[in-house]
């Protein structure tokens, strides 16, 4: 086990300049397109950022009481449509933004990760409400994820329980400011880190990395038992 572990990282890291996380090594291919984008970036950026920041389409995603405030922000009194964001898309393929409105439990976590992965790049996340920022008042619960930033990368944190609709508008404006400072090349480079979500198992509600480590441990133990060799130090640490 330890030998194969040692082999994986030493493989492809020399040829590519961009640092790619371990878990994505086998899925990522860097092409000359990246170079072209880097060259064009400064010319295209102003237009692209203007367009992106002015039409941030949120995903229809609400898991509890924050969703009521999120609905409220689309209504006449607050009217998110002034900023061009009233187009709540039902499918993640056409949305740019997830407003995680409400508590995320371990059972919902894999669904949220799936939705985030289904969004096409560029994608943004507003963590709305105390529950999705830190776990909120369910902080101590056995089933609540203590902040969505443990699952997906978050752009804007919006605390409150639940935040007022004005708060959502403020978060949206902050997000627009953030988008205006981006550059295509930077975004492209960061894309790998952006994609680094933490996968959660549907059946047990535990992070997949933990389950993998456990399975590895069990295999090693069984192997040690069968062959009579002592457990490798490295594997035991995992």
């Amino acid at each position: 086990m330890s030998e194969t572990d040692a082999k994986i990282p030493s493989g492809a890291s020399e040829s590519v300049p961009v640092s790619i996380p371990e878990e994505l090594k086998d899925t990522v291919t860097l092409t000359t397109l990246d170079k072209a984008i880097e060259l064009l970036s400064s010319a295209v950026d102003p237009v692209a950022n203007w367009a992106r920041s002015n039409s941030v389409w949120p995903l229809t995603f609400g898991t509890s009481c924050c969703a009521i405030e999120m609905m409220c922000v689309g209504m006449s009194a607050f009217d998110i449509s002034r900023f061009g964001s009233e187009v709540f898309r039902a499918t993640p393929r056409q949305a740019d933004l997830i407003i995680t409105a409400g508590t995320i439990t371990r059972k919902m976590a894999p669904a949220l990760v799936t939705l985030y992965e289904q969004l096409p790049e560029p994608k943004y996340v507003i963590a709305m409400g105390a529950c999705t920022v830190t776990g909120g008042m369910f902080n101590d619960s056995y089933s609540v994820v203590q902040g969505v930033d443990r699952l997906i990368p978050v752009d804007v944190y919006l605390p409150g329980c639940p935040p007022r609709p004005e708060g959502i508008l403020d978060a949206l404006l902050k997000l627009q400011q953030k988008i205006r400072t981006e550059s295509l090349a930077e975004r492209r480079k960061r894309a790998y880190r952006q994609r680094a979500v933490r996968y959660v198992d549907y059946d047990t509600g535990r992070p997949v990395e933990d389950l993998v480590a456990e399975a590895r441990m069990e295999t090693a133990e069984a192997l040690a038992e069968a062959t009579g060799y002592a457990l490798d130090h490295q594997v035991r640490k995992v």
């Binding site: 371990r106 203590q146 933490r198 959660v200």
Partner: protein, 180 residues
Amino acid sequence: MSEGHEPEKAEAKDELKAGPFGQFLEEHGIPSRRLPDSCGVETIELDGKHLEAAMKRLRNSHEIALNFLVSVAGVDSPETYDSVYHLWSYSNLNELVVKVRVPKASVPEDRLPLVPSLAPFWPAANWHERETYDLVGIRYVGHPYLRRILNPWDWEGHPLRRDYKQLVDALNDKNQFSMR
């Protein structure tokens, strides 16, 4: 195991007089034991093996008509696992709490306490029993589809048990020592 357990007659001194529902059950030959009222509502304890007969009587009789099962809950008491049933009658506007108590001593290691299920003849109990199974870990014998309803399928342990160890991993590690 509820099979061998009889309501304890030894505490005859503290024995409360049977209330109207207890008397009704007595008339039909179903032994019950009255417990202190919970919030002014008559509370009786039943033996697991009498549960189905008693519930059918209470539901179907015309004068009692406790035909609305409000909830099935579970309690992890210090000595026992309780399965608690709240019944309500819309025609008489009165209420009854039924408890089936399984002593912890009678439950073997790595086994769940067994209580007969109401779901086959009272569909309202179906999801409530699943929830109680999920959170408190009482196995309802005869339930048509007893699997977890709130937690993920392969969840380990029953979270509202006293001896539950909270999972600490990357999703939930702020409180290493639970406040409970």
